[in-house]
Symmetry: C2
Subunit: 406 residues, 2 copies
Amino acid sequence: MITCTICAIGSELIEGSIVDTNSSFVAKAIAKIGVDVKEIRLLPDDKLLVSQVMGELSLISDLILTTGGLGPTFDDLTAECMALATGRQLLFNEKAFLDIKKKLLSKKIPIKKAHERQALLPNDAVLFNNDFGTACGFGVFFNKAFICSMPGIPYEMKPMFENYILPFIKNKFHIQEYFSKEIYFMGVAESDVDEAIRTIGMDSDVKIIINVSKGYVIVRLRSNNGLKLKILSNNLSSHLNKYLLGIDNEILESLLVEKLKEKNITLSTAESCSGGLLGTLITSVPGSSQVFKGGLIVYSNEAKMKLLDIDEKVLRNYGAVSGECALDLAKNVKNIFRTKASISITGVAGPSGGTKDKPVGTVFIGVSLDDATSVKKFEFSGDRDAVRQRSVNTAIWMLLKKLHGI
Amino acid sequence: MITCTICAIGSELIEGSIVDTNSSFVAKAIAKIGVDVKEIRLLPDDKLLVSQVMGELSLISDLILTTGGLGPTFDDLTAECMALATGRQLLFNEKAFLDIKKKLLSKKIPIKKAHERQALLPNDAVLFNNDFGTACGFGVFFNKAFICSMPGIPYEMKPMFENYILPFIKNKFHIQEYFSKEIYFMGVAESDVDEAIRTIGMDSDVKIIINVSKGYVIVRLRSNNGLKLKILSNNLSSHLNKYLLGIDNEILESLLVEKLKEKNITLSTAESCSGGLLGTLITSVPGSSQVFKGGLIVYSNEAKMKLLDIDEKVLRNYGAVSGECALDLAKNVKNIFRTKASISITGVAGPSGGTKDKPVGTVFIGVSLDDATSVKKFEFSGDRDAVRQRSVNTAIWMLLKKLHGI
């Protein structure tokens, strides 16, 4: 099996000012073709350290994929590091510079000294196109490894990796078919999924990873043996059928949009404590405009009364965080946007605002489909972010279940 | 200077199914007290590999902070790894188990075999309380290092780290005062900030890191010498005064909410392509309800007409993605929510929907304050996520500038 280490380079990562999302993207994409990711390392812009790590890794990994450090400023050192680590010269690459110049001219950006630095690359490097920025990617062979460096800006790196680097790697390493499945469950505890797997029986040919994310349990299966993987996947899915959310599509909001499109059902939302997060998630799905008509963020009581016709009595007698309010929010937003389905969320996200009866984490979610509207009360644990995230995931899940007729 | 390596443990991280946000949190908090973070490593749930890495790191780091792998399932191996790495026995810890039992009982969760595993800890470990979950944290001394293991669930880890582990570390390592500043600029290129720093002159006693995030440039300064740091910070801030956004507060939306509170100005929003992201960001700030009244997500043209009184003629003559539409959206949403300020966003986030005149990335942002409403057109590069993120950051920035009277 081909082994890989992923390195994200940049002092801003090490000092915690930026969350590295590149490595997980690369890890997922490379694991899908059966490459064994050994480790992810986040390194500072430190020429000696990065060079040393590259040297060490080149003896134990077949593939080293790095992101970051290809920009035009003085702390962008990746090209220098790779030259140093592999004993190559750093040369002015005419081809790379012409490409940079062309891109800057087309955007009418004046060429600066700093941009010339971006064309200084290790001798005999393989170049990879950057369709969305000036820093080109490059790869060098050293010891047993192919070391491949990509820019750190996600929207430059991702298409470069998918369109140019991944095909290059597949071809160079003669990569064989590999099988993987991701099974998503909701409404069940991690420990129960663990027990289910023990009951069914594990198979040493199938690698199993369980984890919890955004309120659902994910079981990842990987194997060279497609049949064994399929058997285990089928057994597990039927054993926990009640909680099965989907296979190989992790994104709850995509599942929802897909289902709504399939059934030709339009959707609107009324959000209080989630403040627009539900709308954000739904509209993050390309093409969601086909089914999502819009939403109201009613953060204040006035807005709830004025825009969503919530009766003052409801607010006085039960409060804005109540089943009664959630019910009316869901019903009324559906009428306003004239949609077939709607979701409402009202709760206490914290850190303050909690009471004895309604502690932080108390959230009411209303879901309406055709003539039926129902409301559920939840007590989510976690901080403000966690409560909001869980609320919207649960809300999407509730509507999904309804659409599935569960 | 005390050195530290941060390790996030979990195969789900290595396979890219989860983005590790814990390490950046820990890195930021520990760098703030002057500890030098050397590297962040993401490791799989592999007992031998993790033990080996711990052994190696314990010879070169004073502090090793790990997250993850303390859960109750069979792939949670951190306690075993630490015992193996440090030559300790794994013992049933009565104190830890009593604590777990108490927590489970209070939540009426039945105690399972898996929970007992969580009380198996290395001999003579220092325990750290988990106020929001069952897995307690623990630390062991080995070689030159203190190895400290925390749970992977962010809302369990963060308070444990801040309330128990950080004070323990400060005390144990006699940590001295250290100075740091983060300066935020907007509307200026990274390369121009780089040039400004060269012009002012660097100081070898002050560590400088520049990077770009969410459309603004961040300069981080760190030093043992408070005076030198202050001089450099002042020089840089005044040199680039026009673009100065803030110091030591990175979060644009917090700055906005703070400013609105200070000036007692209420806010509403009208969002099309951003689909609620603006509302989400604003309401992610605790206490935002004091100034944010609510928003409308008007994804369809019908919704724009019906809910925000956009004239059909405007949509027909100029389109929903137009300055005219953005202007009316901003004006009308302000009237509906009766707020003093408002923001509107309408654009083409992509991947489809672009035309020759209005390619993907074209976004109109309207900002209204008191009687004045203005609109700007932008062409953002990047994918759907990037366009949406840039739109809302720019929108917040535009209103911030108005509130600052720029």
